[in-house]
């Protein structure tokens, strides 16, 4: 590993250490499924409604139900106010989240219907799309939607020359020394360990990239444990 400028993490974490996580299922009693996922200061809530009949009718698929994901950050989620409503970034994240989740859900039993997933970020400190996906996977399971497996998501990356797991706001957008920071959100499926989403913002060499992927898979196993714990200790409560 080449020596870099970033030898110690701002948060005091080890390079491959994820932020403290917590998860809870069933936070919105009126929904069909809901979940909250928190890593450090980032918090995401996901609500699932459906399957229900899709309108307008021309969007319906007679062979399968469709999944519709909507991601949004709340106006107060960062220290500057975010203008509410869809924007280019949130539309993109909605779309990629939809693709990532579509690879595990099986809606063939519900033709002409839609399953809506709403992801909201009440508090953001980088890694919101992965936190949102972790919450969404739990909420979909909680809604009783047939799924081949779960998904877990993590942001990995490179800060100057150092490979790190679970970047926070400072590492993701405020660090500009040396080679700057590279951010790679990864979604890994729980059983087959396939990659369901991979994005990359920045520069990284192929050997380094391979190493970050291994780090991501390890971190996703930890996240899966948290998700599993939350789903299993529901105690039949809520809804």
């Amino acid at each position: 590993m080449a020596k870099g400028l970033y030898t110690k993490r701002n948060s005091g974490r080890k390079m491959d250490e994820v932020r403290p996580m917590s998860a809870k299922v069933g936070i919105v009693p009126s929904a069909d499924g809901s979940a909250m996922f928190e890593t450090g200061k980032t918090r995401a809530i996901a609500v699932v409604r459906g399957p229900r009949t899709l309108h307008p009718q021309h969007l319906q698929n007679a062979q399968t139900g469709i999944l519709r994901v909507s991601y949004g950050m709340m106006p107060f989620s960062v220290s500057d106010r975010i203008r509410p409503g869809p924007n280019r970034r949130s539309e993109e994240i909605s779309k990629v989240s939809e693709w990532a989740l579509s690879s595990v859900v099986d809606l063939s039993g519900f033709p002409n219907t839609v399953v809506d997933v709403f992801i909201q970020i009440p508090q953001a400190d980088a890694g919101t799309r992965v936190a949102g996906l972790n919450a969404a996977a739990m909420a979909l399971a909680h809604a009783g939607i047939p799924m081949k497996e779960m998904v877990s998501a993590i942001g990995v990356g490179k800060i100057d020359k150092t490979l790190v797991v679970d970047l926070d706001k400072y590492e993701d957008s405020d660090y500009h020394e040396g080679e700057g920071s590279t951010d790679i959100p990864v979604v890994v499926t729980s059983r087959t360990k396939n990659v369901a989403l991979l994005q990359l913002d920045g520069k990284i060499s192929i050997p380094e990239f391979k190493e970050t992927m291994e780090m991501a898979k390890k971190a996703c196993n930890e996240i899966l444990k948290v998700q599993m714990e939350a789903l299993k200790n529901i105690g039949g409560s809520n809804e």
Binding site: G33, N112, M150, R191
Partner: protein
């Protein structure tokens, strides 16, 4: 991994391994493993493995009793909204009397509520019937919505909880598996009391020894838990 009784599994989790097991509802086979395809509780009967969901929306199953509302009238039947993914279809032939097709709304009009039985579940929709005893048009009382996952607790073991409420309030109660409950009593007061008790159960579904708690709650309301006259005996909300 060996399946324990009433264990909760998440999608993608291996329940049992071995070729002798048969995957049923909510599970699929991946090589030697039988894997959960839905979040829920494992049921292993002999070599038959299935997972039943413990949360989420209502999925109709054949034989369910449900309560719904007429949303459309077609040339040969009615469409009924029961809170599921699709509407249920009630054909004219599945109604217990002769219907003049020109005057279908004379029998069931838009917005009217019915107690129906799920006859067939296909991927495109649900066929229902109301030809048996205990099914038909709802002509009074009130319908409350509690959610499908609370239904087993409201019915109780072999209908014991429903019987308890019926006995205490004198109301006729039908619990639809889709999470809707029809209460019909002599007067509004007894219906409101029955609703209070059902809502109490719905708020305490996770509590152990619920029957005792409900009995206490009924006494707090100033009612007796013994048997009071029941105005109609023939509802079958008791069967799960």
């Amino acid at each position: 991994m060996v399946a324990e009784k009433r264990q909760i599994v998440i999608p993608g989790e291996t329940i049992v391994s071995g070729n002798e097991f048969l995957p049923g509802d909510g599970v699929y086979r991946d090589g030697d493993d039988v894997v959960a395809g839905v979040y829920g509780i494992v049921n292993v009967f002999e070599k038959h493995v299935r997972v039943s969901p413990i949360s989420g929306a209502y999925y109709p199953r054949r034989g369910n009793t449900i309560i719904g509302t007429i949303v459309d009238i077609t040339f040969n039947g009615w469409l009924i909204d029961f809170g599921g993914a699709q509407n249920a279809f009630l054909p004219v032939a599945e109604v217990p009397r002769y219907i003049n097709k020109n005057e279908m709304q004379e029998f069931l009009d838009f917005g009217e509520s019915v107690i129906i039985k799920v006859w067939d579940v296909k991927s495109r929709g649900v066929d229902v019937s109301m030809k048996m005893r205990g099914y038909g048009k709802i002509g009074g009382g009130m319908i409350i919505s509690v959610g499908p996952n609370k239904v087993p607790r409201i019915i109780g073991k072999e209908g014991s909880m429903v019987k308890l409420i019926k006995g205490a309030t004198g109301c006729d109660i039908t619990v639809g598996q889709n999470g809707k409950v029809w209460i019909y009593g002599k007067d509004t007061d007894s219906e409101v009391t029955a609703r209070k008790i059902i809502e109490f159960i719905a708020d305490n579904v996770t509590v152990a020894g619920l029957t005792k708690k409900v009995e206490n709650f009924i006494r707090e309301l100033g009612l007796k838990t013994g048997s009071v006259e029941i105005i109609a005996e023939d509802t079958d909300g008791g069967e799960q």
